[in-house]
Symmetry: C2
Subunit: 236 residues, 2 copies
């Protein structure tokens, strides 16, 4: 996408009374945008000191060749916007069908024009005029009490300019739709206890917030010391 | 295993000043024991009203054919005990090597004889004289802040008769060893905030307990209503 067409896309988005939002599966071409989105999420969560991914690490870990079916392994959904109705152009429909995810498109009314200063940076790699506004990252987990898999949503993120317009809900609904379709028993994710807006939003969607469970984490040097933990063990 | 040899195994375990503990990969033959262990865990966590698995559901979801490499998908480790030193007998060493998990064996001293009333029920399907005492269930998760996978431990469980002997630690160390070997960034699990013994144990192992995160869960009817959530969406 050229700089001038990106600028035109940004202008067209901000002047519209509505945008068209599409959720599709990410692929390797989305890695630079995913990397930027994760950094913005780290800023929002006040955790930039914990931000370590590179485009290379994201590409090799999230997008194996050949790709795995969505929701069976690490899966990224991309939310992208257009000032005009979105058609199939730019999506390989056969491939989407084969991979098992049906893109979702909705028209979203805007009460006031949206100023998106980052729209050029977040141009979609798929087609001129589309701007990436958010993402969802998920993978299967397992509930032994259910005796079947569930879906864990690691990240749901919408860029600041596009929040409070139902796009986070749209992302989470997309994941819940496919989890239910696959017969998964639960969709789970985590929230920071100070993020009251998010908690209200999740409860409105029908989620319980579990008060008693705490996450334990072994990482860095504390994990590394188990790597060669064979002094008291014997292979047999 | 015959009832008489099971009884002999139980007697030999309880009379020894030590037991030999082995951790190995589970396979389909372990499903009846895994089912019983999950139920005992539900009893311990006061959550039997949430216990839903059947042997059939565990078998089909945990043990696909052909098997997947351990720690790349749902993985169950089995802890089993013997009153005499454990050798390779009963384990297909080539298969273990191929699958990428090296069994761990340790001798564990007993201060006092252990009364294990359930040892007959929990006879190992692998060999006479081995009794299953616990399990660990884990699967890969993903950290976008690390830009790489981690390992999530869904369950660590040791039957009551065999607790406080280092076997839970042995299970968790086995998972941490392979997570570190695979280059995973973290090992994570959850703990109930009232389980102070477990929290102390995890902190001694080097884990942080994260105070601010809460789990959100969409399940049952609340999840089901998203299954056909296409009234406002269009496939494209």
């Amino acid at each position: 996408m050229s700089a001038s067409s990106s600028a035109a896309a940004a202008a067209s988005l901000s002047e519209q009374p509505a945008v068209w939002a599409r959720i599709r599966l990410a692929d390797r071409r989305d890695v630079p945008n995913i990397h930027r989105l994760i950094f913005q999420m780290a800023e929002f969560e006040r955790l930039t000191h914990l931000f370590h991914p590179t485009e290379s690490s994201l590409s090799s870990t999230l997008f194996p060749s050949p790709p795995l079916p969505p929701f069976r392994s690490f899966t990224v959904l991309i939310l992208e916007l257009s000032g005009s109705p979105i058609s199939n152009a730019g999506i390989d429909a056969d491939e989407e069908e084969k991979l098992g995810f049906r893109p979702i498109v909705r028209r979203i009314s805007l009460d006031v024009p949206v100023e998106d200063a980052d729209s050029t940076v977040f141009a979609s790699p798929q087609r001129d005029g589309l701007v990436v506004a958010g993402y969802l990252l998920c993978f299967p987990n397992y509930s032994s009490f259910e005796g079947r898999p569930g879906l864990y949503v690691e990240d749901i993120f919408v860029r600041e300019a596009w929040r409070r317009k139902g796009m986070g809900r749209m992302l989470l609904e997309a994941a819940a739709r496919d989890a239910a379709r696959l017969g998964y028993g639960r969709v789970e994710w985590c929230v920071l206890d100070w993020n009251k807006n998010a908690i209200s939003f999740y409860e409105e969607m029908g989620a319980e917030v579990l008060p008693q469970w705490r996450i334990c984490r072994l990482s860095g040097e504390a994990l590394g010391k188990y790597a060669g933990d064979d002094e008291a063990a014997c292979g047999c």
